[in-house]
Structure formats: structure tokens, C-alpha cells
């Protein structure tokens, strides 16, 4: 296994995008790219799978809707039906129009919060977690590409230099 990585620092998002394409074309493995802002198309250029956050949100929304149906039915129809302003309370179906606002709010509540929690867990971000960007400048105006090397350091370094990297550092990994 490779025990070394190269950190190439770029100072422009378009140069970085091009570099990513060239490094991939030369069949080197890009471990990671750290950027200060979302660079559009970078995920595709790196060959990342599309994210499934939208799908999770949809499923969480369905969960919320299902939960709301169950608990409205339990409270208003099953457990203690009441005559409130003559609104029909015999079946869920008849009372449902009055429940639409709550059904909607619960759907949104579940979808939004559970999606965000999923995002935080998947991307490993939560309070007291230590940041892992190797260079503090990557939250300012620099872009860092981490490329795995396996004895071919010089070759990769020169390729990266050719793609417009302003700084190249070789790092030991553990």
C-alpha cells in the first residue's frame, strides 16, 4: 500500500478542475480534494458517486407522514374521540381535512431534521470533532488535491506541477 501522499495546492478553481481531469486521465488515484467553496462539477470530474441525500429526505418525509397519520388517528379517533364543533370524528378519513396542516408540518419536520442529521453523520461533522483539512488555507482561497503515490513520487509531482500547482508537498501517511 502507498504510505505517501502528495499534497498539491492550487490557487484557482478552474485550474484545479483541469488538473483533476488530467490526473485522472493519467490514472493516478486522487484521495481527496479540499476546497474553500463548492466547485461545480468537481464531484463529476473526480468520479464521485451522486449523493443520495435527496432520496433519504424523501424517505424520512414518508416516515414523518406515516407517523403523523398514526398518532393523529390514535389521539383523535381511537383513544378519545370528541365532538368538536360538529367535526366528524368517527373515522380518520372523515376527520382528515382538519389534519392536513399537521400532516404537512410533520412531513417537513422529519424530512428536514433527519436529512440534516444523516448528512452530519455521513460527512462526520458534529460538535467537538476535529477538522481534517491538511492546510488551513483551504478554507480561505487555496485548493488542495491529495494524490496517492507508490514509489512514483517524481512522476506524479512533475505531472501535478505541469497542471499548475503552486506548491507540492510530499506527506507520510500512517
Amino acid at each position: 500500500m502507498s504510505s505517501k501522499v502528495i499534497h498539491a495546492i492550487y490557487d484557482d478553481d478552474d485550474v484545479l478542475m483541469n488538473a483533476v481531469k488530467e490526473v485522472r486521465a493519467a490514472h493516478h488515484h486522487i484521495e481527496e480534494v479540499y476546497t474553500p467553496f463548492p466547485v461545480h462539477g468537481l464531484d463529476k470530474a473526480m468520479g464521485l458517486e451522486p449523493t443520495r441525500m435527496g432520496i433519504t429526505a424523501f424517505m424520512f418525509g414518508l416516515t414523518g407522514l406515516g407517523f403523523a397519520v398514526w398518532f393523529l388517528n390514535y389521539i383523535m379517533i381511537d383513544n378519545w374521540p370528541q365532538n368538536i364543533g360538529g367535526k366528524p370524528s368517527f373515522t380518520f378519513y372523515h376527520n382528515m381535512p382538519a389534519f392536513v396542516p399537521i400532516l404537512f408540518e410533520m412531513t417537513v419536520f422529519f424530512a428536514a431534521h433527519l436529512m440534516v442529521i444523516t448528512f452530519y453523520l455521513r460527512s462526520k461533522i458534529w460538535p467537538f470533532r476535529k477538522a481534517e483539512n491538511p492546510d488551513p488555507r483551504t478554507t480561505d482561497d487555496k485548493f488542495l488535491m491529495e494524490v496517492a503515490v507508490d514509489g512514483n513520487e517524481d512522476e506524479v509531482a512533475s505531472l501535478l506541477k505541469r497542471t499548475g500547482a503552486i506548491e507540492i508537498n510530499v506527506k507520510e501517511t500512517h
Binding site: 484557482d12 449523493t51 368538536i84 364543533g85 396542516p101 404537512f104 419536520f109 428536514a112 480561505d140
Partner: protein
């Protein structure tokens, strides 16, 4: 690359910024010490907050009898203030969610502060339903939890309970939306911090954000989905607030127009409050380059539209009240009775502040003027408070029993609580302005190349990009570090610079892609038929060798730029007028 934006669109990031300049400008207010004005404003707000806190404590300790409520007017300033604050809390999510779905780039300069304002305003709003319960320690009755009182459940048929769910969902969803957007910006502050304590705090706040490509991919999808969820949510909140009134049988409240009218009014008042806050903030925090005339004008246009909707709603309410011919409709808040009765001053404050004064925004000079905008936004804030006061107090002040007709006079506690929420709001906002990145800097950086004034200018003039701060540039010439000139696209300058010498070569390459004109087989078209081509331009085109619509219709961005560099006149004109598209139509 995909940074092109039509030159006709005004730059929304000005001051020749580079990526690093944005970092410095956003971190500035946090890293500097607070100035004297900030302390003065903070102390005044804190005093108001403490007074309000005392008034709330007195209310809870003694009961809501300390308010000016009476037998007829059983809701007054409490619910007026509640609806006013909730309405103000609508602009933030509208700006960040609805404008995101519409891909409006100008939202990025203002969304962070607008969302902060939303959250702080909803906090104020939430106070009123809680304290107006009287026995706040029984407040948990509004939650559907099993309790020791038998099967005493909440009533899910009631709009008041829908409100509990709507407001809490809105507050929490807005909060996570805001916080998720803040993570990369907190990370930026963290990585710049030099003092250990600051570094610790911002490390904690940033949740260890590292900015990996995968994180950004998820971040963008999450933002988009949250925007999609928040858009119907924000519409539902004020709709449900309006149900509190609309589902009752009180004359003046029982009105089907309430939901859309309330939502429009909320957006109207929210944008007015955003203007009030941001016009001060852009000065105090030196954000003039990010909150520009374009932002102010766009927001004023939203105010004009929503103010128009509100005015139409007033007219329809007024008409319906009159048309029923019912004497019980002649005292509702929009009626001849209200305009001439004891509450004439409240009626006319509403009409003048909300419907008359905002019409000044039809004048471009006024809607692009900071001072005028500020003054008008204050009027709208006042007018929207009166709208809720009128709806609640005027409608309740009279009824079917004339002997009970009355008026409302607030006590010092009513006034104290209202002033207190204003103080609380500004305490939160001032603290926010000192400690949070007040511009969504990561997002602003992502649009810098398309809409920064220096980048736009560079594209139009084919000059290298200029930066205000020397040495902070992002596009240092690449060949300084690279050993050989790589075959990469230069990021900004999309066409090579043309010198007089290689004009012929340019002409050849232009004709090569458009096809040449052969006088023997082809006939020349009247190119003047294309909008934007005059006799002089036609002569120039003919000189180059372009005679037919067929040739023009093949032109793309590359050819336009070549053409511009050859002719040197009207840069960008051909593209703006879409000559190729016109020629395609003329050809057939």
C-alpha cells in the same frame, strides 16, 4: 468555463475582490474590536430587553390582568406583536429558500443576515403565545404528550394548535438550514484564528468542517432539498397564522382572502425589516461591496409587488364589507366606519404606511437610494404593525352588543413587553454581527467569477483580472511555477488577445467556421434585417466576408468574440441581440 454571465447584468460583488479579499472582509468585523457605536446600540438594546424582561416577569407573577385587555378586546398587543414578529420572520427563509430555487445569485450577499433575522424574530414571536397563556407553567398542555389528567389530548382540529406545530417546525428547520450554511464559514474563521480561545470556540461551532469534495456535494444537495422543503413551509406558517382569525366567526376576521393576503403581508414586512437592518449593517460592518444597489433595488421590487398584493387585499376587504350592506361589517378594520370612527388614526396609519408610501418605489431614483429606502422601510415596519393592530383591536372593539363597545388602552406592561422584544431582537442581532460571518462567504466565492465586477470587466475588455489588494490575487500567472505552459484554459480570459498583426489570421479562422461566400453560387442577404446590424456594421461584415444569413446563423460565442476583436466596435452586442438566432429565423 461556465462563468459567463450576460454583461447587461450588473455586477453584484464590487470592489475588485479576490477570494482572499472576501475572506478578509467577512472575517473583519469578527476580528476587529467593537467600536463605540456598537457598544451604545448594545447597551440601549440591553436596557430595553431588561425592561421587557421585568414586564414579562410581572405579567407571569401577577397574571395577564396587568395588560390593558377588557371584556370585548380580549386579544390586543400580545397577538399584534406575535403576528408582527412572525411576519418579519418570513423574509429570511424566502430569501434563502425561494430565491435559491429560482437561482437568484443576489440572495447570497444577504441570506445569512436575513436568516439570522428570521430566527431572532421568530424567537420574539414565540414569546407572546407563551406568556398570553397566563399560566405559563401549564404551557406543556399544547404538546400531545400523555399526561396525568386522564386522556386529555390536544385538539388537532384547532388552528391554534396547528400554529404550535407550524411555528416550531419553522423555527427548528430555519435554524438547521442556517447552521448548516454557517459551517464552512465558521471553519474559515477557525482556520484564520490566532488566539487559542477563538480557535477553540470556532472549532466547536464549525463541527470540524473540512471542505472535502464529497462534503460539498452533500452540502449542496442538502441545501437544495432544505430549500424545497422550506418553501412550502414558509407559506404554510403564515397561512396557519391567518387561520387563527379566518376560521373564527368574528366580523372582519372571517375572511377567505386571509391566507394569501397574510403571506404577502409577511413577505412585505420581512423585506422591509431586512432593508432596515442591512442598510445599517453594510455601513457598520463595511459590507458596501457585497450589499450593493442591486440588492437594495431587487428587495425594493419584492416590496413593491407584495405591497401591491396587500393593497389589493385591502381593497377587496373594503369592497366586500361595503357590498354586504350589513351594519356589522361597517365597523370592521377596512370599512367606512373604521376610517371615520374612533380608530380613524389606526386605519389611516395602515393605509398611508402600507399602500401609499411604498408606491414611491416605482421611481427608480428612490428605490436605488439608500436613505430613501431606509426611511420607507421604517414606514412599512410601522404600517405592518398597525395592520395587525387594526385586524385585532378594531375588529374586536365593536360587536353585536353596542353597550359593550369600547377601545383599548395599553398599560405600561403592554408597552414594556413590546419594547422589550425589540431590545431582545437587537441584542441578539448585535451579538450575531460581532461573532458570526455575516455574509455567506463560501457561496459568495462560488459566484465571484461570474458576477464580480473585476471579472466581468476582464471578460468584456479581454484584459487580465484586476484585484483591489495587491498580492492577494488568485490568478497569478501560471507559467511562473509551471515548467512548461500547460494546455489549460485560462480561467477568465476566454478569447486570446488579438493584435493588429494577426487580424487576418482571425478573419480566416472566423470564415473557416462560418463558411465562405461564393458570389457565383450564393446571393447576398440584407444583413440590416438583423436587429442590431446597421449599414455600417453590414459594411464591416461584408468586408470580412460575411454576406448571408446562413453564415451569421452559424455564429456561436467563439465567433462573436472573434468578431468583436476584429471589428473592435460594440463588444458583446452581437451576442446580446442573438444575431445567430435572428439569422436562423430570417433564413427560413
Amino acid at each position: 468555463m461556465g462563468h459567463y454571465e450576460a454583461p447587461i447584468r450588473e455586477a453584484i460583488i464590487t470592489g475588485d475582490k479576490s477570494y482572499h479579499d472576501i475572506t478578509v472582509d467577512v472575517a473583519g468585523p469578527i476580528e476587529r474590536k467593537a467600536n463605540k457605536q456598537w457598544w451604545i446600540a448594545f447597551i440601549i438594546s440591553l436596557a430595553a430587553f431588561l425592561w421587557g424582561f421585568g414586564a414579562i416577569a410581572y405579567t407571569i407573577g401577577t397574571g395577564i390582568g396587568v395588560w390593558g385587555l377588557n371584556n370585548r378586546i380580549n386579544w390586543a398587543w400580545d397577538i399584534t406583536n406575535f403576528v408582527w414578529w412572525v411576519g418579519i420572520g418570513h423574509a429570511g427563509t424566502l430569501i434563502s429558500a425561494v430565491l435559491l430555487l429560482f437561482r437568484q445569485k443576489w440572495r447570497m450577499g444577504i441570506n445569512r443576515s436575513a436568516e439570522a433575522m428570521t430566527i431572532f424574530a421568530v424567537v420574539q414571536a414565540g414569546l407572546f403565545p407563551l406568556i398570553h397563556m397566563g399560566r405559563i407553567w401549564d404551557g406543556f398542555y399544547v404538546l400531545p404528550i400523555p399526561n396525568a389528567l386522564g386522556s386529555l389530548w390536544v385538539n388537532f382540529n384547532s388552528p391554534l394548535l396547528w400554529d404550535v406545530f407550524a411555528i416550531s417546525t419553522y423555527l427548528t428547520v430555519s435554524l438547521v438550514f442556517w447552521w448548516t450554511g454557517l459551517l464552512p464559514d465558521f471553519a474559515m474563521i477557525r482556520d484564520r484564528a490566532t488566539k487559542p480561545f477563538q480557535k477553540k470556540i470556532y472549532s466547536l461551532l464549525s463541527f470540524g468542517w473540512s471542505g472535502r469534495a464529497k462534503d460539498w456535494q452533500r452540502f449542496e444537495e442538502v441545501s437544495l432539498v432544505l430549500a424545497g422543503l422550506a418553501t412550502p413551509l414558509v407559506l404554510s406558517v403564515h397561512t396557519i397564522v391567518s387561520f387563527d382569525f379566518a376560521t373564527s366567526v368574528i366580523p372582519g376576521w372571517h375572511s377567505t382572502v386571509y391566507p394569501p393576503y397574510f403571506v404577502a403581508g409577511a413577505v412585505f414586512s420581512g423585506f422591509a425589516m431586512v432593508q432596515t437592518l442591512l442598510l445599517i449593517m453594510r455601513k457598520v460592518c463595511n459590507l458596501e461591496y457585497y450589499i450593493t444597489r442591486v440588492h437594495i433595488e431587487n428587495m425594493n421590487k419584492v416590496i413593491l409587488v407584495t405591497g401591491g398584493i396587500v393593497t389589493v387585499a385591502y381593497l377587496s376587504e373594503f369592497f366586500v364589507g361595503w357590498y354586504t350592506g350589513s351594519s356589522y361589517e361597517d365597523f370592521v378594520y377596512l370599512s367606512v366606519g373604521a376610517a371615520t370612527g374612533p380608530y380613524w388614526w389606526a386605519f389611516w396609519s395602515l393605509i398611508i404606511c402600507n399602500s401609499v408610501i411604498p408606491q414611491l418605489f416605482w421611481i427608480k431614483k428612490i428605490r436605488t437610494n439608500y436613505v430613501w429606502t431606509f426611511i420607507i422601510s421604517i414606514f412599512i415596519n410601522i404600517g405592518m404593525w398597525f395592520e395587525r393592530f387594526d385586524i385585532i383591536v378594531i375588529n374586536l372593539s365593536r360587536g353585536h352588543l353596542p353597550s359593550s363597545w369600547t377601545q383599548f388602552s395599553p398599560t405600561f406592561v403592554d408597552i414594556g413587553i413590546f419594547i422589550g422584544t425589540l431590545g431582545f431582537f437587537f441584542v441578539l442581532f448585535l451579538l450575531y454581527a460581532r461573532t458570526f460571518p455575516v455574509i455567506a462567504q463560501a457561496e459568495v466565492k462560488s459566484i465571484l467569477k461570474s458576477t464580480g465586477d473585476n471579472y466581468k470587466r476582464a471578460r468584456e475588455t479581454n484584459q487580465p483580472v484586476q484585484f483591489a489588494m495587491a498580492g492577494a490575487g488568485v490568478s497569478q500567472p501560471i507559467n511562473v511555477v509551471a515548467e512548461e505552459q500547460p494546455a489549460i484554459e485560462t480561467p477568465v480570459i476566454e478569447t486570446p488577445e488579438v493584435t493588429v498583426d494577426d487580424k487576418d489570421a482571425q478573419t480566416d479562422s472566423l470564415l473557416a467556421s462560418l463558411g465562405t461566400f461564393d458570389p457565383a453560387t450564393d446571393t447576398a442577404d440584407d444583413l440590416k434585417k438583423i436587429k442590431g446590424v446597421g449599414p455600417k456594421m453590414e459594411a464591416t461584415l461584408n468586408q470580412i466576408g460575411i454576406y448571408t444569413f446562413d453564415q451569421v446563423s452559424k455564429m456561436t460565442k467563439k465567433e462573436y468574440d472573434l468578431l468583436d476583436s476584429i471589428t473592435g466596435s460594440f463588444p458583446g452586442r452581437a451576442e446580446r441581440d442573438d444575431w445567430a438566432g435572428q439569422a436562423k429565423n430570417l433564413k427560413s
